[in-house]
């Protein structure tokens, strides 16, 4: 109990005293996870739409693969990305291992199945006739997509939240491919692991509370947008 109180106090102290390293870690965490989620949206929303609306052989297998991907442990993703990017790996010459770019790539791989799965589910919950109806009303292909996306907006925002929530809170992949280097690839979750390992439990807890607060703010913003669309 003592430690919990201590942690809350420490969180406020760190924020108020404006520890520059902490602000850097927060900014880095947000930047990496936001870029990864944005890329996952770019790839995942069209894919999800195609899976929901398309009729082609192997569609069920693909959907199952996506649903499995939604549950793959981030540390496994990290391991595979590490093997690809490490110096002895096939893309080692790019020199990407232990960089923010490598972390974005790993988080992108984690978030994409979530975005695809949620998008597919939300598009499938719309009336099947909707595109045909729009077609008969004379809407072009792009316009049809746009209107369907608008209708599926609740689900799409949920997809973004799921993707962002997964990557900002994951530690295994970021640790493996980023290397948790102080001042360059250390993010909130890996900093928590380090501080816990150091025995700095109040600081670790404070970082955990900040992570929670950060996730709350981002999700609150998205939820406000989502609910406004609804009304």
């Amino acid at each position: 109990m003592d430690d919990l109180q201590h942690g809350v106090a420490e969180a406020f102290r760190l924020l108020v005293t404006g520890d520059p390293e902490l602000y850097q870690i927060i900014a880095r965490t947000l930047a990496i996870s936001t870029v990864a989620t944005a890329l996952a949206m770019l790839a995942g929303i069209p894919l999800g739409y195609g899976l929901a609306r398309g009729r082609f052989p192997g569609r069920t297998v693909l959907l199952s693969a996506v649903n499995t991907g939604m549950g793959v442990p981030p540390v496994v993703v990290g391991l595979v990305v590490w093997l690809l990017l490490s110096r002895s790996g096939p893309f080692g010459s790019l020199g990407l291992i232990y960089t923010k770019q490598a972390m974005v790539l790993a988080q992108f791989v984690i978030a994409t199945p979530l975005v695809v799965g949620f998008t597919a589910a939300s598009v499938q919950s719309l009336p099947v006739e909707l595109p045909d109806l729009l077609y008969t009303l004379g809407a072009g292909r792009l316009r049809r997509l746009w209107i369907v996306a608008g209708e599926a907006q609740l689900g799409l925002l949920a997809a973004i939240m799921a993707g962002f929530g997964a990557v900002i809170s994951e530690v295994g992949a970021s640790m493996t491919v980023g290397g948790n280097l102080r001042g360059s690839t250390r993010v909130l979750t890996t900093a928590i692991v380090t501080e816990t390992g150091r025995g700095n439990l109040p600081v670790a807890l404070a970082l955990g509370l900040l992570l929670l607060a950060l996730a709350f703010v981002v999700n609150a913003l998205l939820t406000i947008v989502q609910q406004r669309q609804r009304s």
């Binding site: 490490s86 232990y98 280097l181 380090t194 816990t196 390992g197 150091r198 025995g199 700095n200 439990l201």
Partner: protein, 293 residues
């Protein structure tokens, strides 16, 4: 089919069944220790031997030395086995740790790129080597409060270099294995214990450059957590464990450990040859150990 499912459903519970009656009558202790004792496999062999002899179950929690000492201060452990004599002193003085015994040592190496840009190869004085690296090389540090990091900081201090002033110094905040991989990818210098280096040797292009300085000794002490301060601590079992580690027969076993796998022992036993005084690296025994390799 139904019966099969029934049979399968108890499978996850099976390993727990024999453990239940065994744990109770003999007692168990929590050992806070460092990742090196776990990663080298020392505890995996030692703890079952201890259990066979005494029936006491030891649960090892392998963390950095900083965290292991902190566990003792919080009363979350019954015994500790750590390797940062300087840091240990404070916990002995505060009365959290008692009955300290020196158990064994191994040594640290400074490894780096074969090109050796800071020209430290063969340097016998570790502090001078660190000074050269600080001036003309890059370095990857554990940065996790471990005994290895504490040793690194001690060396920077001896070299008269402030770690913060080195532009090319990075901290991983992770264990020795992960840090070796980062240093290798970055092609930089780093400080490593010999055991972990040997275990990772095949994966690394970095080579040993500086070794044998008595300052590079890595000394392990075992302590009992003081039940006077932490009433939940299991003193008699913990004391028995520390006594076991200093037993001549066990000490001899420690001196042989790793020879089969790595071609050389990973630790040099110390309990018979040195006093029990904590925080006092005996340099003479270190020299002979460094020579014996």
């Amino acid at each position: 089919m139904k019966r099969l499912l029934c049979a399968l459903s108890i499978l996850p519970a099976l390993p727990a069944i024999p453990a239940l009656p065994a744990a109770k009558p003999c007692g168990e202790i929590t050992l806070a220790t460092t990742t090196s004792t776990q990663d080298t496999g020392l505890l995996d062999s030692l703890l079952p031997m201890f259990k066979r002899e005494t029936c006491i179950e030891v649960k090892p929690i392998a963390v950095g030395t900083g965290a292991a000492l902190e566990m003792a201060r919080r009363g979350d452990a019954d015994a500790v086995l750590v390797h940062a004599p300087e840091a240990e002193k404070a916990y002995v003085e505060s009365g959290d740790l008692i009955e300290g015994r020196r158990i064994m040592h191994n040594d640290f190496l400074i490894i780096g790129p074969t090109g050796d840009p800071a020209r430290v190869r063969g340097q016998k004085d570790a502090a001078l080597a660190m000074k050269a690296i600080g001036a003309g090389g890059s370095f990857v540090s554990r940065g996790d409060g471990s005994g290895t990091e504490k040793k690194e900081l001690e060396l920077w201090k001896a070299a008269g270099v402030s770690p913060a002033s080195i532009a090319q110094r990075e901290e991983t905040g992770q264990g020795m294995g992960a840090t070796l991989l980062v240093a290798d990818a970055r092609n930089t210098y780093t400080l490593t214990d010999r055991g972990t280096y040997l275990a990772f040797k095949d994966k690394l292009s970095l080579v040993p450059l500086v070794e044998g300085d008595p300052r590079l000794l890595n000394i392990y002490h075992a302590y009992v957590v003081n039940p006077g301060k932490h009433p939940t601590a299991h003193r008699s079992e913990a004391a028995r464990f520390v006594r076991y580690l200093t037993d001549p027969k066990v000490q001899e076993w420690i001196g042989q450990f790793g020879r089969a796998k790595f071609g050389q022992p990973l630790f040099v036993p110390d309990a018979q040859t040195t006093s029990a005084k904590a925080g006092q690296p005996e340099e003479t025994s270190g020299r002979s150990a460094a020579r014996s390799r």
